[in-house]
């Protein structure tokens, strides 16, 4: 119950829908039991006593009661559902806001698939319980109580005999739930595996075709496909075992009713109409009883869902804004003083004692193997992570002193993975600054060498990107990401391997344009190619989180360090080729 208590703020404000719904539920169930009574009255009071004059009253009464039931059913169902969907509306809002503020650290350890299943399946599970589950539990209880009351009113012995099978049914129902639930999970898992298999096959189709492994793939697929079939059939065997059995137990009740009830009617202990009414009442009890297991299951599932949702809602927000954080314009002077960073406690240190100073106008180049800490440095400037020791200063103030928005608003980031959103190219470029003017968008695109290929598209800047939109090549995506960063008019620009998929000629043009844009501002360039950062004012060469070499390109190429080694490898071709070409 603790879970539901913690989630109370989402549903309790709407409790009135729930209680009104319950109020109508009382009418619905009470009236349901009226039908067999009407049947009984028709037979016992009208037919057997030849009092046809009662019929009109009976009919009108029945009709009125049914109309009331109609209205009650509508309001019960509608308000019950409303209670669920309005609570979930609020819940989604809270979840989304939470997701916006959770830090990089949280996302480093979270899987999109897992988060998505919480946001969809678990939210839905919670809604279903609020809308249907709890009310259904009450409905079942009420229906059984009312029906039993009527039965006992008619004839206690007959009620007892008829209901003798009830405990057996209850056992069967719970046995069924116990097995059906894991079996269903099995089907879902098996379907998930099949889905993954097909998805990988399609995503990796080029690889499949390049090695001509179609038959092998069909074989692997068939294994999963068969596994799904077998899982499903095995589950259906549980259905085949239990559903007929439940129905059979119900039918046994009906047979017992006929035997004992018939005997009672013959001996004039009860009226014929009462016997007929019993036939309906029996199913009012057995039907809901068969559902009881499902509802109880729902309850435990929704509890688990609630817990998973709470995990998101209660996740720690690592990066918190200070209360007296300042909101000011940033010039872009970045200073690192002896900065050490560890991502998670058991991990290796990502950065060790990093110090440098980058006043506005300076270009800092970062080079080093994958995992050497280049990206980590840049992500500390925007305070996506916090250093373990040491200071990260912007304009001579610790980054934690700034409001997050103030700090990040003027730092243009072009990340390694150039993620674009499902919207127009225009909106993607203007992402960081939605109110920007059209000319500025086009200007940014031109500088990023993106304008020409955008204009070649049938819809130009209105071309939609995303899963179903236009497919772009890696280089084109990178260029749009660069334009996006230019658009916010950054004081600090970070290019994290931003032109890796762009050909050399285009990269050259982009760099020339950026030089112009970044005059008087601070630029960080992360790259593998020497050509991308040789013009930097200072190049930091990183190895395992440490700066092992620093200086200008011209100094470093004769330093006999790692930089020279990389340079030699990348430029050996040129020496060999150009010399020979010149000599011939």
């Amino acid at each position: 119950m603790d879970t539901f208590k913690k989630l109370k703020r989402f549903y309790w404000p709407y409790k009135k829908y729930f209680f009104i719904s319950l109020f109508f539920l009382l009418f619905v169930t009470a009236i349901t039991v009226v039908y067999p009574i009407i049947l009984q009255k028709t037979i016992d009071e009208v037919v057997l006593k030849d009092r046809y004059s009662l019929i009109p009253y009976l009919s009108v009464a029945f009709l009125v009661v049914m109309i009331i039931k109609g209205f009650a059913t509508f309001f019960h169902q509608y308000l019950g559902e409303l209670f669920g969907i309005i609570s979930v509306y609020k819940l989604r809002e809270a979840l989304y806001e939470k997701l916006q503020v959770l830090s990089f650290k949280y996302y480093d350890n979270a899987k999109t698939g897992d988060l998505m299943s919480r946001l969809t399946a678990d939210v839905e599970g919670f809604r279903f319980f609020l809308s249907v589950g709890f009310a259904e539990l009450l409905r079942i209880t009420l229906l059984i109580v009312f029906s039993l009351a009527v039965m006992f009113y008619y004839s206690a012995p007959l009620a007892l005999v008829t209901m003798a099978a009830m405990p057996f049914l209850a056992i069967v129902v719970f046995q069924f739930e116990k097995r059906a639930h894991p079996a269903f999970k099995g089907i879902r898992k098996s379907f998930g595996r099949l889905n993954t298999r097909v998805q990988e096959n399609i995503s990796g189709m080029n690889t499949v075709k390049s090695l001509s492994r179609e038959d092998f793939e069909i074989g692997r697929f068939s294994t999963n496909n068969d596994n799904y079939r077998q899982n499903y059939i095995r589950t259906s065997e549980i259905w085949a075992k239990f559903f007929p059995l439940m129905e059979f137990i119900g039918n046994v009740c009906a047979v017992a009713l006929l035997a004992f009830g018939g005997y009672l009617v013959i001996n004039e202990k009860i009226g014929l109409g009462e016997l007929v009414a019993f036939f309906s009442l029996v199913w009012y009890i057995l039907g809901p009883l068969m559902n009881l297991g499902f509802v109880i299951n729902l309850f435990s599932q929704s509890k688990a869902s609630g817990e998973r949702l709470l995990e998101i809602l209660e996740a720690k927000e690592d990066i918190a804004e200070q209360e007296d954080a300042i909101d000011t314009v940033i010039n872009g002077h970045v200073t690192f003083r002896d900065v050490t960073l560890t991502y998670t406690e058991n991990d290796d240190t990502a950065l060790k004692h990093i110090s440098f100073d980058a006043p506005p106008g300076k270009v800092i180049g970062l080079i080093g193997a994958t995992g050497s800490g280049k990206t980590s440095i840049t992500q500390l400037i925007t305070r996506f992570y916090e250093p373990e020791t040491g200071e990260v200063l912007v304009d001579n103030r610790p980054v934690a002193d700034y409001k997050l928005k103030a700090l990040r608003k003027h730092i243009g980031f072009v990340l390694q993975e150039s993620f674009l959103f499902s919207t127009t190219i225009r909106a993607n470029i203007a992402y960081g600054n939605p109110d920007i003017r059209e000319e500025q968008i086009i200007d940014a695109a031109k500088r990023a060498q993106a304008h020409d290929f955008i204009m070649e598209m049938p819809k130009g800047y209105d071309t939609l990107l995303g899963e179903r939109g236009m497919g772009l090549s890696g280089g084109q995506k990178q260029r749009i990401a660069i334009a996006r960063a230019i658009c916010i008019n950054p004081s600090i620009l970070v290019l994290d391997d931003a032109t890796s998929a762009v050909d050399m000629e285009t990269e050259f043009k982009i760099q020339k344009a950026l030089k112009e844009v970044m005059r008087g501002r601070t630029t960080f360039i992360i790259a593998h190619r020497i050509s991308s950062l040789k013009h930097a004012d200072e190049i930091l060469v990183l190895e395992d989180g440490e700066i092992v070499e620093r200086g200008k390109h011209d100094e470093l190429i004769t330093n006999h360090g790692p930089y020279q080694r990389i340079y030699d490898i990348q430029y050996q071709d040129r020496e060999a080729i150009m010399n020979r070409a010149a000599g011939s």
Binding site: Q100, M116, T120, S203, S236, E237, L245, T370
Partner: protein, 614 residues
């Protein structure tokens, strides 16, 4: 939910922030031809599960129809009214036995129906998947992976219900309904006709009302998948969002779609809350007819054309049985319309023809040597654009050649023609003197491997990923291949060595390591012809040096086609072909081409000038 006006205005500005196109399950008009095509998949089971399930279904349906008559006409009218305890006892035993039959019938119906359905779904999905495997690159290029996945998984699954319960239930409901109508007419034609007034009402509710309800739910599904698409995207793009501090703006957008979603749910639940009351009311109409007219008929007595009390009771039972089959038939009709949409999409894929077809008399291409000839080959992907103009090439077995040129110059087309992913529009491609159109596709392609720039990592262990090159390779052979290309070193360093689990989106492997894995894969496949579509973009320099060394070992003793940007690889080729707009501009080895100072020389020079200029 009421929002002030200003709030709405600022909200609306952000409603156009993202666009999500959503596949909605459109209803398609009923199409007999298509249904027939679907039903063909039942054929393999036409003598086993299908008739079995039908017989089991008929048994249990028959019991359900007979028992109310026995209770009404025999138990009440004869046994109870004559106070015949013996007859009542026999009857109870008889009904008990009938219920036992019903029980057994139900067991086998559920069992067989599911086996039948799952087998059909298995066959259908397998057929579709296998067919898709044979389709060309262009098929995959023009569609997103998601849209293909949806057809193989979801569209097929939406037929599951049809093939499992749908068809048998359809029969069962028709039999039940017809049975009830016939029985009621026999028992009392007058009362039967009076009561059957409710059937059209029920049908109306079950089809028309249900359809408006379903449309409302369809709308909620559309809203819901928009919401989910955005959630998914906002999680994946969270780093960008936080970098550009767009959290608040996104919240406004989300607020908009969240409200839309809420409103669509509200409409849908309101509509569906109407359903039950209408059903109940139509039932009530039936009951009122029964008690007024039925009671009247009883009072008239059987001798005056009236009915006995048992008939009345039977009617009461059957009245309660009307709704279920009618409701399911209505549902079934809707389900069929949806199934039409799904099967149309499935058949669209099945009707897609592979680009190249194998000849009936194609022969097995054994022991390829690897001598490739292009004889005046012309090729165009579509009518307007010619990709290759009369290209002739002669690549001796064991030679390494390089294809150089800008994007769209025809390099990849040449590679695709060698693997016979396409047939030339004019001219012939021959390997070892055989026209490729004469050989069996599999035997050809199994001896050719392509190493791509972006290698796909399947989820599984490293061992399994390398073994993808030749599934029957032993562990030692896999490790040997990894050693040769120099991948063994980093694999050994991983926590679980060759048993380390990897996946496409995982971060365990760097780009360079992935490339080395793909070399190991190709080496294991041991092809006679190797095509390298290489671009080692974001690999750090030290790794790149390793890759170059691995490459040399991989190429040894094979015919190799290299599509490359890096000069060091190209330089060592036996012949370099410089392509421009589908034509061979010049060819020769590196020294020759540098000497002749043609396009190749310019290409090399401009690259280095760029390096210096920056």
């Amino acid at each position: 939910m009421a929002k002030s006006k200003e709030e709405r205005v600022t909200k609306n500005r952000h409603l156009k922030r993202f666009y999500y196109t959503v596949d909605h399950a459109v209803e398609k008009p009923f199409n007999w031809q298509q249904l027939w095509r679907l039903l063909v998949y039942l054929k393999p089971y036409a003598t086993t599960y299908l008739p079995g399930a039908i017989i089991a279904m008929l048994v249990s349906t028959a019991v359900r129809l007979v028992v109310p008559i026995l209770i009404g006409k025999v138990a009440i009218d004869v046994a109870i009214s004559n106070k015949d305890t013996n007859l009542l006892t026999y009857l109870v035993i008889g009904i008990g036995i009938l219920y036992l039959l019903n029980y057994i019938g139900n067991i086998f119906r559920i069992k067989w129906v599911n086996i039948l359905g799952q087998n059909v779904i298995y066959d259908l999905r397998r057929h579709l998947f296998s067919h898709v495997q044979r389709l060309s690159h262009r098929f995959f290029d023009s569609r997103s992976a998601g849209s293909i996945l949806v057809r193989i998984m979801n569209d097929i699954n939406s037929l599951q219900e049809l093939f499992t319960n749908g068809i048998i239930n359809l029969l069962m409901d028709v039999v039940t309904l017809a049975g009830i109508v016939v029985i009621l007419l026999v028992l009392s034609p007058k009362l039967a006709l009076a009561i059957m007034v409710v059937i059209p009402i029920m049908f109306y509710i079950s089809t028309k009302l249900r359809r408006t309800i379903r449309r409302a739910w369809q709308n909620t599904r559309i809203q819901q998948s928009r919401l989910n698409s955005h959630l998914n995207e906002s999680i994946q793009g969270i780093r960008i969002t936080q970098s550009f501090t767009q959290e608040k703006e996104n919240e406004q957008f989300f607020d908009g779609i969240n409200s839309d979603n809420f409103e669509s749910w509200q409409i849908a639940t309101k509509k569906s809350a109407l359903f039950r009351p209408f059903v109940d009311l139509s039932n009530a109409v039936g009951t009122i007819i029964l008690i007024t007219y039925g009671a009247y008929l009883i009072l008239q007595g059987p001798e005056n054309g009236g009915i006995e009390i048992g008939t009345f009771v039977s009617f009461a039972f059957f009245l309660g049985m009307f709704w279920e089959p009618i409701s399911r038939l209505g549902q079934m009709y809707n389900q069929l319309l949806m199934a039409m949409a799904s099967s149309e999409r499935i058949f669209e894929f099945l009707d897609e023809q592979p680009n190249v077809e194998e000849r009936a008399n194609a022969f097995e291409f054994a022991d390829m040597k690897g001598h490739i000839e292009f004889d005046h080959v012309q090729f165009s992907y579509d009518v307007e654009r010619i990709a290759l103009h009369e290209v002739s090439l002669d690549i001796k077995a064991g030679e390494t050649i390089a294809l150089v040129g800008h994007t769209g110059s025809g390099k990849s087309t040449i590679a695709n023609l060698i693997s016979r992913f396409y047939d030339p529009t004019k001219g012939t491609v021959r390997i070892d003197g055989h026209d490729l159109r004469d050989v069996k596709l599999d035997s050809l392609r199994q001896q050719i491997s392509v190493v791509l720039q972006d290698t796909f990592i399947f989820s599984g262990t490293i061992m399994e990923n390398i073994r993808f090159g030749r599934p029957d390779a032993a562990d030692e052979e896999v490790i040997e291949a990894a050693k040769v290309v120099g991948a063994d070193e980093f694999i050994q360093r991983l926590a679980n060595g060759y048993e380390t689990e990897v996946e496409e989106r995982g971060n365990i492997l760097s780009a360079g390591e992935r490339q080395l894995l793909s070399f190991a894969r190709a080496l294991l496949a041991n092809p006679r012809i190797l095509i390298l579509d290489e671009a080692t973009a974001s690999i750090d320099t030290e790794t790149e040096v390793k890759i170059q060394a691995a490459l040399r070992r991989l190429l040894k003793g094979r015919t190799a086609i290299i599509i490359a940007h890096r000069l060091s690889t190209i330089r060592e080729s036996d012949t370099i072909f410089v392509l421009q707009q589908g034509k061979i501009l010049e060819y020769g080895n590196h020294e020759q081409l540098m000497k002749s100072r043609g396009e190749y020389f310019e290409l090399v020079k401009s690259q280095f000038q760029m390096l210096d200029a920056i």
